[in-house]
């Protein structure tokens, strides 16, 4: 038993050591990447692209909707208000049981059209395709299909309709920044290596003011869970993904907002409806396809905020979201196991997936066993309190250091919150994250692993929508099931 205790302590320590070392390196890489990005792409380049109506590549914005009557109108308006020379908006109504489709038909003056629908990617049957009689909404196409039970199935239907070389995969509960398309397309144009996917930074809409589908005032969320998520998201995008992006090591372009090369997605068979993490799965399959065909590729992250999404407002929804992410990670590692540690797949097999395995998949296990072990040591009076406090400080500092680094990065990119104290609020809450929020994430992730192992059936997209805070009115709240 003594040997087990001894070895386990060292394993935990060196695991933490490597984790912190990776984070420190990522923070430095992210810093350089942020600086480089800001140097290359400014408002000047954005304006050049916006004016180039004749040669700007077209983008299809594809957004599935399932029971989204509370927010559908505002968000579709936000899509239609995007500033980009050539784009279309494809909304996929995935068999909603509420008034999502009726609201779209009434408010955007839609009528059914004859459309030569070609099923390039597998999905549930499409019932009808609608376009607007009103030229103001000529960019909008609405696809009404039989519910497929997953976002992947709906997005595949959208890709079957999409007419441009690139598409944005987003959710209809997301509000896009007006410049989102320009900002994600610029690095595609600026790269000499073909870019197959671009991720944008995502923030919480909870707390922001929205008017006619546009964010008019950015604020940190007022509720505690989305507030923790705001820092968590920013940490993931501005430190982790920006750092990985410098070496083309991005493991996952988020399902909330990502630009993809349409033909590559079609070649890899589209999104997998059976996947619980369809975004990570498609990113890995696209990278695998490029590696196997010996084609050069890049996956890029942009630091600017491109999208605002409604974060889980309560524990129940957070639990559902994180358990799904946990199931998804487990599934991705299981499905793509042949790539793990396989030198044939280069950095994908030797860095990206091993990192995901050791520092994302194992992390909740190690944290849980670590806590259990600590309790055991406390009960058996084997704790050396001099080193205990040192190690506790070490672990606590991981969270607060990288949160504040993130907030500092965010400020250098663009000051979105009007008041300084709103940033201070974010910093204050990030210092409590280790005690109040992180343990929950560990439990929910482990629950997801358990669900995956016990093969339970799952559905997607059921979330209590809060509605957005309108600039001049009170927030609305409706529950959709």
């Amino acid at each position: 038993m003594e040997i087990v205790t001894y070895v386990f302590q060292y394993v935990i320590f060196f695991y933490t050591f490597f984790l912190i070392s990776f984070y420190i390196l990522l923070a430095f890489f992210a810093y350089f990447n942020n600086v480089r990005h800001r140097l290359r792409y400014t408002e000047k380049e954005e304006n050049i692209l916006k004016m180039s109506t004749d040669i700007a590549p077209g983008i299809s914005v594809v957004a599935p909707a399932y029971n989204e009557e509370v927010i559908i109108l505002d968000n579709v308006r936000s899509f239609l208000n995007l500033e980009y020379p050539t784009f279309e908006v494809v909304i996929v109504n995935d068999g909603s049981k509420d008034k999502t489709l009726e609201l779209l038909i009434d408010n955007f003056d839609l009528e059914p059209i004859s459309f030569p629908y070609l099923q390039k990617l597998h999905c549930q049957p499409v019932k009808q395709i609608y376009r607007s009689r009103n030229p103001e909404f000529s960019k909008l196409t609405v696809v009404d299909k039989v519910n497929g039970g997953t976002k992947a199935d709906a997005i595949n239907a959208g890709i079957n309709i999409a007419k441009y070389d690139y598409f944005i995969n987003t959710d209809v509960d997301c509000i896009l920044s007006k410049q989102a398309l320009v900002r994600t397309m610029l690095p595609v144009l600026g790269s000499k290596t073909p870019v197959i996917a671009v991720g944008g930074t995502m923030r919480m809409v909870n707390g922001c003011e929205v008017s006619h589908g546009e964010i008019t005032r950015v604020r940190p969320p007022s509720k505690i869970i989305p507030l923790f998520q705001e820092t968590e998201y920013l940490r993931s995008y501005l430190v982790a993904k920006m750092g990985w992006s410098l070496f083309n090591l991005i493991p996952n372009v988020s399902g909330g907002f990502g630009l993809f090369k349409t033909d590559i997605v079609i070649k890899v068979g589209g999104y997998d409806p059976l996947s619980h993490a369809e975004d990570m799965d498609i990113t890995i399959r696209m990278a695998t396809y490029m590696r196997e065909n010996r084609k050069k590729y890049k996956i890029i992250q942009v630091p600017e905020t491109c999208v605002w999404t409604e974060g889980p407002p309560n524990l129940k929804v957070l639990q559902r979201q994180r358990s799904r992410w946990g199931r998804g990670l487990f599934q991705v590692l299981a499905v793509h196991r042949k790539i793990l540690f396989n030198p044939r797949y280069g950095r994908l097999g030797m860095i990206i997936l091993p990192y995901a395995l050791f520092f994302e998949f194992f992390a909740p296990w190690i944290e849980l066993t670590g806590i259990c072990f600590l309790i055991f040591l406390l009960l058996t009076r084997q704790v050396n309190f001099e080193t205990f406090w040192l190690m506790l400080i070490l672990v606590y500092m991981i969270g607060i250091t990288f949160s504040i680094v993130t907030i500092a990065f965010d400020l250098t990119i663009r000051k979105l919150y009007r008041k300084n104290r709103e940033y201070l609020k974010l910093i204050l809450f990030s210092s409590l994250e280790a005690f109040l929020y992180h343990p929950l994430i560990v439990i929910f992730s482990l629950r997801g692993y358990w669900q995956f192992l016990t093969r339970k059936n799952f559905s997607w997209g059921e979330m209590t929508r809060q509605g957005h805070i309108q600039s001049s009115s009170a927030p609305t709240s409706t529950t959709t099931t």
């Binding site: 060292y10 320590f13 050591f17 912190i20 070392s21 420190i24 923070a27 140097l39 290359r40 400014t42 000047k44 380049e45 304006n47 050049i48 692209l49 004016m51 180039s52 004749d54 040669i55 059209i113 004859s114 459309f115 030569p116 629908y117 070609l118 376009r131 610029l186 595609v188 144009l189 600026g190 790269s191 000499k192 080193t387 040192l390 190690m391 400080i393 070490l394 500092m397 991981i398 607060i400 250091t401 504040i404 680094v405 907030i407 500092a408 400020l411 250098t412 000051k415 300084n420 940033y423 910093i427």
Partner: protein, 375 residues
């Protein structure tokens, strides 16, 4: 250095005899604590800079109002009056030059302005000289900022300001400088276009060159584009140049592209030539394309279908009707029907005849779709 050494040895003695893990933990804590403090400092600096920016902006409110007047008025205002209106002091502080440059360039992009007054203001404020100096800076951030500013001011500064930089530097700022040079040089604007501009071009570089070429008269640009397209060995650059020829809307001398079409082994280059000649409505090219249709790659075939639709006429229509019956896939079928439908006058009767032959199934949907597309 001695102080650092002192503290290093001091810390080392403190931890003498401690296990390795403790030493590592202390080092990690120190690194993270440093990052923590630096981040706080950076956040504080960010807040401070924003406040300074706000105050400076406020202090320039009256000057900005006067600038707005000078840009909006139709009167050409004398240098003396502009000087007295701006009341900006001499020498003009660096931050004022940066702020006012940004403001002026933003206004130029936004609305039509009184160019004479603008040129006088740029001269009085010494903006062109300031950004020219910045272009020589050792700091790459300053150089990028400077070239962007000079690009916006290109109508008001001599091309010689950036020609040195364009000649010396091949990457990044240098490539941008070459594009700007092409935009506003009066004597030898296309020298970089014909020399080495094509090396390692990204699509963003192409976008910048495209915007520069748009600013010059088509008859001046066309011979240079044609000559470079015919002689370059860089197929990526060749494709770009051919596409640019299409945007000029002129056909003098473009028959040379047919020779290039016949000799080029690259399908992408050939497809680009077909698109360009289609956009230029160059009828002489049609027989060559029709003759080649069955022997070229799908990307070129698709381009030929589109070109036939754009060029139009009986020959195109007969060709499209013929290949309609042998379309290899549904996407090509839709493309062919769309092009038949858009051939003015004679396209619609053929379209209706084909529609009458396909009253059921997928093809019928295609016909309705094509008709709706053109409503």
């Amino acid at each position: 250095m001695e102080t650092i050494e002192y503290y290093y040895y001091y810390l080392a003695t403190l931890f003498t005899g401690f296990p390795l893990v403790i030493k590592i933990a202390v080092v990690l804590i120190l690194i993270m604590a440093s990052l923590y403090v630096i981040s706080w400092f950076s956040i504080g600096k960010g807040f401070y800079n924003k406040n300074v920016e706000r105050r400076r902006k406020k202090s320039l409110e009256t000057i900005v109002e006067n600038i707005d007047y000078l840009l909006s008025t139709e009167d050409v205002v004398s240098e003396q009056e502009i000087l007295s209106r701006l009341e900006i002091g001499n020498p003009v502080k660096e931050w004022k030059k940066i702020y006012l440059s940004e403001y002026l360039m933003y206004e130029i992009d936004l609305r039509p302005v009184n160019e004479s007054n603008l040129a006088t203001m740029i001269g009085i404020l010494g903006l062109a000289e300031y950004w020219e100096n910045q272009l020589e800076s050792g700091d790459v951030t300053k150089r990028w900022r400077a070239i962007r500013m000079l690009d916006s001011m290109s109508d008001f500064v001599p091309a010689s300001v950036i020609s040195k930089h364009a000649t010396l530097s091949r990457e990044g700022v240098g490539k941008y400088a070459k594009a700007v040079f092409t935009k506003f040089e009066s004597h030898d604007a296309f020298k970089f276009l014909e020399e080495d501009l094509g090396e390692n071009l990204s699509d963003l570089d192409k976008l910048r060159i495209h915007n520069s070429l748009k600013e010059r008269p088509a008859e001046e640009v066309l011979p240079h584009l044609l000559r470079t397209a015919m002689n370059t060995t860089n197929e990526n650059y060749q494709q770009f140049l051919i596409k640019e020829i299409g945007f000029l809307g002129r056909t003098d001398g473009v028959d040379a592209l047919i020779d290039l079409y016949k000799s080029s082994p690259n399908a992408n280059v050939r497809a680009e030539i077909v698109h360009t000649l289609g956009n230029l409505n160059f009828q002489e090219a049609l027989p060559v394309f029709i003759k080649d249709y069955n022997f070229v790659k799908p990307i070129v075939q698709d381009a030929i279908i589109d070109a036939a639709g754009k060029i139009g006429g009986k020959e195109s229509l007969d060709f499209l009707e013929k290949i309609y019956h042998h379309a290899p896939n549904k996407e090509t079928l839709i493309k062919i029907l769309m092009n038949i439908y858009k051939i003015e006058g004679i396209g619609t009767p053929v379209f209706n005849r084909l529609k009458a032959q396909n009253k059921n199934g997928f093809n019928n949907t295609v016909f309705s779709f094509v008709e709706n597309q053109h409503i």
